[in-house]
């Protein structure tokens, strides 16, 4: 389920015209040969979050944004666009339902080469799709 969520989230972010116009790449993992600005889904981990009737996972996701410039406000609007897009992640998908999406924390630091890196972490709680109950015999 973690892998499905990662793929769905990347597709969802790539489908946002505001983000694609701002970023050179939205990638799974940190891209090696792409000039900033880029966004990568750089880490994830999951634990069981099942209920009595449905399998579930709590998935932590870390997204890393790289931009150029030493002004902390440089990436402000991009971060806002990313957060808005993630908050709008559709709760129902063919492979899973999203019970909640929660922002956990973010951090930023200046890197060499006039780059600024920002890490954003989210928690997703997802469940297998709600299956209709077996038909009751007539």
């Amino acid at each position: 389920m973690e892998t499905l969520l990662r793929a769905a989230l990347i597709d969802w972010l790539r489908a946002d015209p505001d983000l694609t116009s701002e970023l050179n790449s939205v990638a799974e993992e940190a891209p090696v040969a792409v000039a900033p600005p880029w966004l990568g889904l750089v880490a994830s981990a999951s634990t069981d979050w099942s209920t009595k009737t449905r399998k579930g996972r709590e998935v932590r996701i870390a997204l890393e944004l790289h931009v150029r410039g030493d002004d902390p406000a440089t990436a402000g609007h991009v971060i806002q666009a990313i957060e808005t897009r993630i908050e709008a992640f559709p709760p129902t998908r063919p492979q899973f339902d999203v019970a909640s999406v929660t922002f956990l924390r973010a951090r930023a630091e200046q890197r060499s080469g006039n780059r600024r890196a920002i890490l954003i972490e989210y928690r997703f709680r997802i469940l297998t799709p709600d299956m209709p109950e077996e038909g009751i015999p007539q």
Binding site: A30, A45, S46, T47, R60, A62, E64, E121
Partner: protein
């Protein structure tokens, strides 16, 4: 250094000790990598969420 000694070695206490050790190890490694300016530290689940990733 602050130390503590428990009177009984219950399973819960052992679990708690293991969690504390995992947190401490992750914290120390994160600090070390941070001093070296290693960007990979943001891409390692065991450093980001030490209690979620078990012994992996």
């Amino acid at each position: 250094m602050i130390t503590a000694r428990a009177a009984s070695q219950s399973r819960e206490l052992a679990k708690l000790e293991a969690k504390a050790a995992r947190l401490a190890e992750a914290y120390a490694e994160e600090k070390l990598r941070s001093r070296r300016g290693d960007p990979v530290r943001w891409r390692m689940p065991r450093l980001l969420w030490p209690l979620m990733t078990g012994d992996k």
